[in-house]
Symmetry: D2
Subunit: 337 residues, 4 copies
């Protein structure tokens, strides 16, 4: 059984704690937080694990195989770097770091030290995203022409990162995992329509990603929508796919919609028409994403192979986030990647 | 009874013909088309109206009060100009013209000649848009913070105009009518992911409009979506509104969603939270938009007052379309209006 | 070209008139109504057809091949009988008659005279019902275990017939056409929760139909629902089908849901579990039902074959309606057919 | 702090255990099950509580204030009776017992001994049902004309009780709680379309309940539906309410739909028409039902007042279940209550 320590026992940390604790492959050995209250709560639920306010205690423990970092984004770099230098595998919440330079440095260290650096892009481990990857890989969609995502709801306002850094990592990881497209440039627009805590933090934003071919991706991320929408449309040259994560069942629908040329009698109408055919919706398993990711992390450590959400994905996501943020500050200007 | 001539008897022209013919305020006197087949069809349905291939015959008829132009966009300018110079009121399909310069010239002529120049932005006459205008005007939403529209489906590909010129006029007219915001700049991205007829005509696009205050509008227009979505979200400082035109009933939903400050025990969560309250959905009348517009056009001619969709709206819509197109060609660059 | 007369030019009559008039196989020769206003309206739309208040004028016209009867239900019997005795084919609105005895007499006369007696169960001619029939016939569903229909909305209250006679004919015809089950008995409950016009006419009702095997059908019909629901669920031993007529697309969904035996660790849970697999939704044609029925009626007259909705279906529907009504009056008592 | 014992640690028992354990008002003192495996699992989660296979150990413990019974239905009577005779308050899963006679005997004993007998009709404690009760009580709906519930999905087959005993208790308790109507008779139809375990246990059923006035209730319960529906429509003389428990938000919609008399020009149309007005959807709290019920049970014990789901509701539900079952066996015959 591998031994893990969890640093950061806040909102998402509780999910990480629970899943490592429930796994037969892991022993939850340490828990750390800078806040005494969080430590107290964690201790009540997992009385067998040791606790500390100073994560150096964990790094000094030779028995620890891996450390899971669920702290605010701007602390990821230092803690992850210290952990890797202490020779331990890292599981870190998304996004990997606050800057591309930091992300690249962590990736370099992980490779040098031959350690795993798993970024917790949990969505990749959902049955829905696994199915989408499988469908695209099989060629059923044909070429991916566009990827459009809407991820909006009435959410908590983050006070350290804007809505792009908060929500877009989900879409960026899904995009990277499901398609093998090379992003070449980014545009982003958005606004801070509600100001709070004295800072200008964008509450809603629109990001366009341009690829080498003419294909395109677009994300709408928004903390201020009265309706919760989690919908991705992937247009392919053969079929089209809609992933609606708010559906209880039928989350994925696959449409047989191909181009066909039609002669119309009315000269004002076009000669090209899309044809809509049968739709199908594959059954999905009930596997919990985080539970599988925890298991996969353990197996990857044992086999020495990278996880599905390794440092390369983590770096790529931060690269686009940083460029999108730059574009946002420069009024939507095209930023080369 | 006023006398009207209809030029252009194609797809949309048949709706215009039917509504002028059904109206007790109008006599359908002339019908014109460059295509004999269209004329023959029109004659079968409206045997009493005269027909011609040359619209000059209509302009020469002193009895004609108004001319409705339902031809392809790039012919609007010449026909509308000739009609105004012949001293007749004009009803023209949207968008008003292909260029801002042309739109402004038509507007100038109409004002000089004291003639009505009604642009058929039909949506303005729907019970739903009338209700939205009423709600915003009453102050119930508070300040409009953002306007987000998705207008996508698997549609006919136009071969003369791209998807922005085809679909965005709907949203631009609704935006202009319902809010009194002054647009200052535009960004647009998009792509021609399906090529046809040897030309590069964008099939999908994203347009951001920036206003003087920090508020923002965004349109997603797309001919290539397997699902048909016609959804506008308007975020206000007091309430938020969703207009879903695909709903049979409950097209408009109004959410009582105001900002509230909450103290959370977990330091990783924000202090600012939006609160979602009651929702209400107003009943809408069954009035047909085009029938009302035809009636309103007649009454405006009699009273000498501008229509709800006059040349000012027509020019403003073309101004933004032209700027959006420019931004599209310059990789999303911010274009000042 | 066959010649048709239409008797009854009210609400549904206008649809019948339009479709016969549009058909290249029919000449609309006569129109009749007891109400002058209706005749005047019909004459305006179809100036070439002759009109009369007395349908005997039509029966005396030797050129007439068929008569379409779109009058109130209790007048169907006499008009249809007179028409058949005059040697003309009959198209009659549903339900065929007000009593089983009348329905059987009409059926007998039609057979004796070798004339077609088409009952306008329009639903049978919709692409959706044609597809359902095809799916069931192919064996894809397996045995039909149950048929459950909900057909409710806030509708006009009929003042001559109750909600069962008004709405259940749709479901009864679909049931009869799509399955070949032999109904053996009926139960019905319901109530007149809103009284009007001094009569007790049930506004909502529930009908159960029992078949020879253990399978069962149930209809919920209701004029008083704030939401419009038109949903039929057909449970099969292999697959299950949902027909939701309120959907714009995806009207039919086919679920791969078969029985499977599962061993559960918890003794309080059952050993039998249903498994839900993939779903698919076939594309449907856009053919208009009434247009096709009018064409099919003409072709059936020419070929001498029965229509899909002949007197046998008409009689079977009335048989069950009469029995359901009897059960309703006897507090839900089982009525043998 | 009150002391509780839980008998039956299976599927639903785990929820009961968790909620009593989490409550600051309760100490979870004992856990019992006839199955060693269940006891072992429970002990792992709640190591401080004592365990036993023989519930007499619990009844002999003078410190125990209340016993929660989460065993199969046919064991409820004996365990609950023993518990009451031992002088302890009872919480028992729904339905209260398998027969009306048993239910009435338990109610009598509870009253004699002045002990609480809470039947766990959890739905009563949901924010949605609390809101429905509040709306009806306020008179906003006017008189309740009908209550229609559909509660269907592809569920586990119970092997001891049929679908009416499994699912209808939810609707019966909601009906009883929200309206104060006196049921006078019952009809039920249904079928065992899938046989298993050698017994005939109905998988789908339809129950009609008749009230003293002309109003009516109807339940469709079904283990064999490919789609999960949990929808209750309550028609009132002033407004109508739809409760859709599958909605994430907007679970309750209230329609302003009143009767109005309309003169129609077409004689074939009725003179009475329902009018559909505005709709509103109240915000609901996030309170967890079972947590509140556990708290309410403790407070009721302290105050000596009955719970919202006391023996009277428990008896009434069983009375109708027994009558419905009788009707089912007698082919839908009306059974007086």
């Amino acid at each position: 059984m591998l031994k893990v320590a969890v640093i950061g026992c806040g909102y998402w940390g509780t999910h990480v704690l629970r899943n490592f604790n429930n796994s037969p492959l892991w022993e939850l050995a340490w828990m750390s937080d800078t806040d005494e209250t969080q430590i107290a709560k964690a201790r009540k639920n997992y009385p067998k694990a040791k606790t500390t306010k100073d994560y150096q205690d964990i790094l000094n423990d030779e028995d620890i195989d891996a450390v899971a970092i669920a702290t605010p984004v701007d602390s990821h770099f230092q803690i992850a770097k210290d952990t890797l230098l202490a020779g331990k595998h890292v599981w870190v919440e998304k996004p990997l770091t606050s800057t591309l330079a930091e992300a690249e440095e962590l990736a370099r260290i992980a490779k040098e030290k031959n350690l795993l650096l798993n970024v917790d892009h949990t969505f990749i481990y959902t049955p829905a995203v696994q199915k989408i990857k499988e469908i695209i890989k099989s060629g059923e969609l044909g070429d991916v022409l566009y990827f459009d995502s809407v991820r909006i709801n009435l959410g908590l306002f983050q006070h350290d990162i804007n809505v792009i850094w908060d929500l877009a990592p989900h879409d960026l990881s899904i995009l990277a995992y499901c398609t093998n497209k090379k992003a070449v440039s980014v545009n982003a627009t958005g606004s801070c329509v509600i100001e709070y805590s004295g800072k200008k933090i964008e509450n809603l934003a629109y990001v366009t990603i341009n690829f080498e071919d003419e294909s395109i991706a677009h994300f709408h991320v928004n903390w201020l929508s009265p309706v919760k929408i989690r919908k991705i449309i992937i247009g392919g040259s053969k079929k089209m796919l809609v992933f609606d994560d708010m559906e209880n069942s039928e989350k994925i629908k696959l449409y047989d919609a191909g181009v066909s040329v039609t002669e119309k009698e009315d000269i004002y109408e076009s000669l090209v028409q899309y044809r809509l055919g049968d739709m199908s919706s594959p059954a999905l398993s009930n596997k919990e994403a985080l539970a599988w990711e925890v298991e996969h992390f353990a197996e990857s450590i044992k086999s020495g192979k990278a996880t599905l959400t390794d440092e390369n994905m983590g770096v790529e996501v931060v690269r686009i986030l940083e460029a999108a943020n730059k574009s946002l500050l420069e009024n939507g200007k095209l930023i080369q990647l």
